[in-house]
Point group: C2
Chain length 136, copies 2
C-alpha cells in the first residue's frame, strides 16, 4: 500500500526500487512470509534484488513498527505487515498454515502482579496450535 510508502518517506527513507518492491510484496493483511519467500516474490518483479537487501529492509520495517516478526519453533521467522491491527495467530501443526485471530479476554491483564517479577510487561504473543480441517 502506498500508505506505507508515504509514511516511510516521511521518516526520511530514500525511496529505492528495491524498497518499493519489498513493500509491495508485503501489501495486504493475512500475509505471513519468510524472508526467502519475500525475496522470491520480490525477485519476480526486480530480478537483481539481493537477499541482503531483503533482510535489511525487513529489519528496518520491523524497527519502524510497520512489520511484526512472528516467532516459530525452529523454522524461519515470518514477517507480518498487519502491525496496526493487534492480533494473534492460529497455526496448523500439520501443514504450518497461519491464520490471524482475535481472542477475547485481556491476556496481559491475566498475568497476576506477583508473576511479573518486576518486569515492565509491554506485549504478549499468543500462538494457538491445532490441526486445520484439511490436515485433520
Amino acid at each position: 500500500m502506498s500508505d506505507l510508502l508515504r509514511r516511510l518517506r516521511g521518516r526520511g527513507w530514500r525511496m529505492t526500487s528495491q524498497r518499493r518492491v519489498v513493500a509491495e510484496v508485503l501489501a495486504g493483511d493475512h500475509v505471513h512470509l519468510t524472508a526467502d519467500e519475500v525475496h522470491l516474490r520480490a525477485a519476480a518483479r526486480l530480478p537483481e534484488i539481493s537477499r541482503a537487501t531483503v533482510y535489511n529492509t525487513l529489519g528496518e520495517l520491523v524497527a519502524l513498527g510497520e512489520v511484526v516478526e512472528v516467532s516459530t519453533v525452529g523454522r524461519a521467522k515470518r514477517y507480518d505487515p498487519n502491525a496496526r491491527n493487534p492480533h494473534q495467530h492460529l497455526v496448523c501443526s500439520g501443514c504450518g498454515t497461519v491464520r490471524d485471530v482475535h481472542p477475547g479476554g485481556d491476556a496481559i491483564g491475566d498475568l497476576p502482579e506477583e508473576e511479573r517479577f518486576g518486569f515492565a510487561v509491554g506485549s504478549v504473543e499468543i500462538t494457538y496450535r491445532g490441526l486445520c480441517p484439511a490436515c485433520a
Copy 2:
C-alpha cells in the same frame, strides 16, 4: 530426576551414560537451555559426548512429552523440562532472561468459535515480553 530415568526405562530406552547425563542436566524446573548449553553442561561431566547425541536425545525427550520446545524469534530453540506443569513464559527483551509464569484466565476458551476456522485447537503458547528490573 531419576523419576524421569525410570519412565524412560519403562518406555524401552536403552540407558546410556550420554542419555543419563543429558537427563541430569535438564533436572529441575525453571530450566530453559539451548541445545548448545545442554551440550556444554553435559560435556563437563562426560567430555566425549557429541552434539549429535544431544540433539538426538532432546528430540526424543520432546517426542515423549518429557520436554517442551519453547519457540523464539530467530534465536536457538530452548528446551524446557517443566513439561508436567503447564505454564507460559515471560521474556526480557533486553537480556533474554526467561521466567515461568501462570496467567489466570482461559486462553483457549478466549478464542471465539468463529475465529477457529474449523481447526481442532489443542494448545496455546503465550509469551509475555518486557524489560526485567536489571534491564529497565
